[in-house]
């Protein structure tokens, strides 16, 4: 199994200065946008994106072309790049921001041309200070060259980009929470409807919110074609994807591959295997995704195949857990994350995640009660009735329901690991 490098080719081949304008242009950068501005139309760009069948790389996997098509008419519209990447296990946008910021900027210019937008934002999580610095420097280089600002590349198009730093709230990766945050408010998700960003987004104006990786793919699609892109990968999961591989693995890192091979092949070849141990369980798509077992490594890495197994490919974060892993502590770590990151708006999530954290804490430390398994599942059921996947919602956003994923996985496939920690049932008489 080999990588297919579209988005990470330039940075791999030019490690010394891939973040600079000089290196980007020397390797064909900004040619795509020049071509589009010279002879393309917004309709043509939209058609190429639709033809590419690219699905959003943030986690939800919504078709990008369809999203763009929803953008309502208005004199004032915005593009917001979601670089809040905070899903535990995920560090793919970090490399794109840090090592190839001009690729993102070029993708943004093309996107704004297609959607007739003149003001764009890149929302980067506060912890990504270094990537943000690189992006800001790249933007300044682009302004100097006349690639941003007024009449860019000598055309009639204007575009300004502002980099905005988040401040440590995972929930701001949810697009409507991100917009609230960008407006200077608490990062609480908005109700949809009516606040679909494409209709009522930033400042109540139509807004495209796209992930860093999604928009970084746009220059390649436009300098080749939507059809070329869709010929990579498999139907429903076209193109390449950058997977972040971590956990008990010999060779962790970001790998750009065509979707469609199995997790096992991925782990054994690119990841160079798990440190002399068997895999007990793994997370196929970030902290929100239900776990898969070590005997499910033949599952194909596509959005639909993982969904068929009752989980999700999500943000592309693959976390391997070997046979020595204490899965109760792993689940506790995941649940604590959601408890900490709950925005507090919806009762089932705010109260439920804290309950789950407290119960798992006492179970893990040997103070569990016989009734705790039932109680954990009951609390999960209150957050997400039926404990199915994709989860049913009692909340405005999917954060709370996602918190149940690890517990349900633990109870379904590794229940004995919890049971041994609980007191024995004593039968009298």
């Amino acid at each position: 199994m080999k990588e297919t490098l579209l988005l990470t080719k330039h940075m791999r081949e030019n490690p010394e200065d891939s973040h600079s304008l000089k290196s980007y242009e020397k390797n064909g950068g900004y040619e795509s946008v020049k071509k589009v501005l010279k002879s393309g139309t917004p309709e043509e760009v939209l058609q190429e994106i639709k033809d590419s069948n690219i699905r959003g790389r943030g986690g939800a996997g919504f078709p990008t072309g369809v999203k763009w098509g929803f953008l309502a008419e208005d004199e004032e519209r915005y593009l917001v790049i979601n670089g809040d990447e905070s899903e535990p296990g995920t560090f793919k946008d970090r490399i794109l921001l840090e090592r190839d910021p001009h690729q993102l900027i070029e993708g943004m210019i093309i996107t704004c041309f297609a959607a007739n937008i003149s003001k764009a934002f890149i929302y980067i999580r506060g912890e990504y200070a270094k990537p943000a610095r690189r992006v800001q420097s790249a933007i300044e280089e682009a302004y100097e060259k006349g690639y941003l600002g007024k009449n860019i590349f000598g055309s009639s198009m204007n575009l300004d980009i502002v980099v905005h730093l988040g401040a440590g709230a995972y929930i701001c990766g949810e697009e409507t929470a991100l917009l609230n945050s960008l407006e200077g408010r608490r990062g609480e998700p908005r109700l949809k409807p009516p606040f679909f960003p494409a209709v009522k987004g930033l400042y109540n104006k139509p807004t495209l919110v796209n992930n860093v990786e999604t928009i970084s793919s746009v220059p390649w699609i436009m300098s080749n074609s939507g059809k070329d892109y869709s010929s990579l990968g498999v139907e429903g999961s076209t193109g390449t994807r950058i997977f972040s591989l971590s956990g008990h693995i010999n060779n962790p890192g970001n790998y750009e591959i065509e979707m469609g091979s199995s997790f096992g092949e991925f782990v054994d070849t690119l990841g160079k295997g798990v440190k002399n141990k068997a895999i007990k369980a793994y997370i196929p798509g970030g902290a929100s995704a239900p776990w898969l077992r070590g005997d499910q490594l033949d599952v194909k890495m596509t959005i639909d195949d993982v969904a068929n197994e009752g989980s999700m490919l999500g943000s592309g974060a693959v976390v391997m857990m070997d046979e020595d892993t204490n899965l109760v502590l792993a689940a506790k770590s995941l649940v604590s994350f959601f408890a900490h990151e709950s925005c507090g708006q919806c009762t089932p999530c705010r109260e439920g995640t804290t309950w789950l954290e407290n119960i798992l804490e006492r179970v893990a430390s040997g103070r569990g009660r016989l009734s705790d398994i039932d109680l954990l599942l009951d609390v999960c059921d209150n957050i997400s009735p039926g404990l199915s996947w994709p989860p049913k919602m009692t909340t405005i956003c999917p954060l709370g329901p996602s918190a149940t994923a690890s517990i349900v996985s633990l109870m379904k496939d590794f229940r004995s690991e919890v049971e041994v920690l609980l007191p024995k049932k004593v039968v009298i008489g």
Partner: protein, 204 residues
């Protein structure tokens, strides 16, 4: 103490970047924290005047985000990650060694206002777990011993600028990905070092 002229100028520049003033609130809170190490009441009053919202609205936003500190922080904010990839890579050992060395519990600052310790959720360094941030500059592939060495070095050197690449070179190990060429820019206070907010500098 109210904001000095330079900071007010910076604040006005930031406000102008946005179609609506209130959007500058997040960045202005970083300016406040850069000044005092936390969001002081004086800064809340200042920001409320600058963008025309009430002090309570400013505080309500400031208290929502974990990177805006409600209490004074030390010169160096030590943030050890405890999320899943770090957790299963023994981040708890790193946490214990940092806690033991500094004598601090979670979210505590020492008497000299030198170190603040916190354990935090995912910082996006999962491929280089376990990881830490010093004033939001990432160091990956840490060991409990290296973490202590790092703290000792900060004590001895007291660097004015904290640079991820320098720390990684001295104390780090496995990285999430190839960082490629060294970068000399870093943070000057316990806020993200970012040129737009005047909180980063190049270390010569």
């Amino acid at each position: 103490m109210s904001w000095e002229t330079e900071r007010l100028e910076k604040a006005k520049q930031i406000i102008e970047m946005y179609p609506q003033k209130r959007s500058a609130l997040g960045p202005l809170l970083y300016l406040a924290q850069d000044k005092d190490g936390y969001i002081s009441n004086e800064s809340i009053v200042e920001i409320s005047g600058l963008i025309g919202i009430t002090e309570v609205q400013v505080q309500s936003v400031a208290s929502f985000y974990s990177m805006y500190k409600q209490e004074p922080t030390g010169k160096y904010l030590l943030s050890v990650c405890k999320s899943i990839s770090c957790e299963i890579s023994n981040s708890s050992d790193v946490i214990n060694s940092v806690k033991n060395f500094t004598g601090l519990s979670n979210n505590e600052t020492d008497d000299e206002n030198f170190f603040t310790y916190e354990s935090v959720e995912c910082i996006g360094a999962c491929g280089g777990a376990p990881a830490i941030q010093i004033n939001y500059e990432t160091v990956e592939g840490l060991t409990p011993d290296k973490a202590v060495d790092l703290c000792k070095w900060l004590k001895e050197e007291e660097p004015e600028i904290v640079v991820a690449d320098e720390l990684q070179d001295k104390f780090g190990g496995v990285k999430s990905f190839d960082w490629a060429i060294a970068d000399n820019n870093g943070a000057t206070s316990p806020v993200p070092g970012f040129q737009t907010y005047d909180t980063s500098k190049e270390k010569k």
